[in-house]
Symmetry: C2
Amino acid sequence: MTQARQYHQIDGMFAMQHGELRDPVVAYESWGTLNEQRDNAILLFTGLSPSAHAASSALDTSSGWWEQMIGPDRPVDTSRFFLICVNSLGSCFGSTGPASIDPNTGEPYRLTFPVLTLEDIARAGQVVVESLGIQQLHCVVGASMGGMTALCHAILYPDASTGLVCISSAARALPYTIALRSVQREIIRSDPTWLNGAYDADKEPSVGMRLARKLGMLTYRSPKEFELRFGRELIGEERQIGDTFGIDFEVESYLEAHAQKFVGTFDANCYLYLSRAMDLFDIADYGGSLTTGFRRIGATRVMVIGVETDILFPIEQQRELAAGLDNGSRDVRLHAVDSLQGHDAFLVDMDRFRPLLCEFFNPDDPDADCRE
Amino acid sequence: MTQARQYHQIDGMFAMQHGELRDPVVAYESWGTLNEQRDNAILLFTGLSPSAHAASSALDTSSGWWEQMIGPDRPVDTSRFFLICVNSLGSCFGSTGPASIDPNTGEPYRLTFPVLTLEDIARAGQVVVESLGIQQLHCVVGASMGGMTALCHAILYPDASTGLVCISSAARALPYTIALRSVQREIIRSDPTWLNGAYDADKEPSVGMRLARKLGMLTYRSPKEFELRFGRELIGEERQIGDTFGIDFEVESYLEAHAQKFVGTFDANCYLYLSRAMDLFDIADYGGSLTTGFRRIGATRVMVIGVETDILFPIEQQRELAAGLDNGSRDVRLHAVDSLQGHDAFLVDMDRFRPLLCEFFNPDDPDADCRE
């Protein structure tokens, strides 16, 4: 039976920015059909933790992480577009990463995996695109880490795509964001079961992963949302305050539920590599300044979306992106979304995000409403 | 030789909100002289981690945590005022807390210490005040946790003080702030050497304390300050990026330095108790709403200071405090300080804070500039 998830193996040595991989694999899924002109393809890069399963399909009917955005009559209309979503190189959902077996040793790479960069992820995505016989993309799309990867792709392959959509991303991480992620990484590394990366797959550093996820949730959402959702509500009276320094407030219970859901779903070493890759990326590495970096981008239609309450990639960074991309001739749109849900809004505040992508991908059809 | 640090022992049982302590001790320091009318005393409550050593004196010439604010010709002019700073009950700098020996068992209290509240800390402070023969305070002052404790004191003892100064505090913690502190506490509790609180004094959970401190620093400062101070500066070239997921960026080096400085200076169990006490406090517990709580406060001259970039006690909470305290007849001043240094500004941005306290404590002398 055909699987939704496809694998493209790169034969031979794949050059990374800080090393190389032998015969790596890039996992991806696709929706819709590539047309005869081969000009209706959209490439989607993901955030840190999702797989390539962005939406359900006949081959995999389970909901994807951007289910409401992808499908017939949805903003990314798969009756018109051929959408490809790649699992980032370095991740653990089919693509080669630190948890994969190194063919040279027969052991998992773990920390012998080369330092990963968004450039490596962008290149691996482009390899998949080319393997499908696509020379020209309609658009490259990404949110969060995926938005930075899309920008990186636009710099590395200036002629590969006419469209570019960057959601809640940035030209480079701010030091405060770096610091937040650095503490998350150190929390994982400080779990004694991490064993300097040498844990067995069934004995992952789950305490560290749980705590890193909790801190993550605090950077993905907003204080205002927490105030409206949880207030100072205490959990049920069956628990006495204070006996174990455990959960007293509803907001703590919410974090705990998210942490438990995360454990066992993501490899710790992969998390460390991907998290650091976001910190290392800097458009200014291309020519010495943001200006020179932006200048390399060839896309002619660009949409930048940010969220007013985003702590991780603040709205100022979206303005910086839009201003930097505006070269006078390029069509650049900036949307500052007034959502309570912070960085995660693109995953959960669909009523605000759907119309923006709908309009961008259906410019000739002002009546398109891309409803559910 | 006389010590700067004094100890007041409370003989017999001290009733706490959730238990009692036998013969507890409250450590404090004082500066200046109580006048004959006994009406020139100021009571200072501290944030979570400082001791009672707010400033140097002849008896202890080492710098205190609010050195520039206290002394002759400084905002809290000790040639006019008699300042008392108490080490919070539950802390570990002389006052009885979880690290102290329980006289009933001869062992440290550790987690048998009763659930601590700011009410307990405020009451212990008032015991010291009364032990010194002071019936009427000129002012109660506090910042951060100390500001909440000062508010709590003002509710519990409405007639005890005419003045009240609350700096970067709140009527109650927001759920986002609770969540941040909850994650810090869980980081400490997740250190295997915490041993459910039963670690030996020389084998403290230092990894957990280091990480909690790093996260703390991210809540005490501001993203803007980090941007201006550190940018994306990498540390020296002698280190290779990526070998250990250690320190690549200057901002990480800064956090590490603060974390190392903190380890060994504060007992982990005390930290847990004090941190949770901040979460539990709620002015609305007094009569059912913020309004009823504020109504109990008797102080007639109030100053509320907040910082625009404070993440932990946002400026909106300062406005809420000032509005709640304004009963039409009370003299309430609100200062929103435009400092980059976030919650910590009251400790480091002295040029902005000194004039505010100078003016408040020297209302009859418009020329007082309280310079260094």
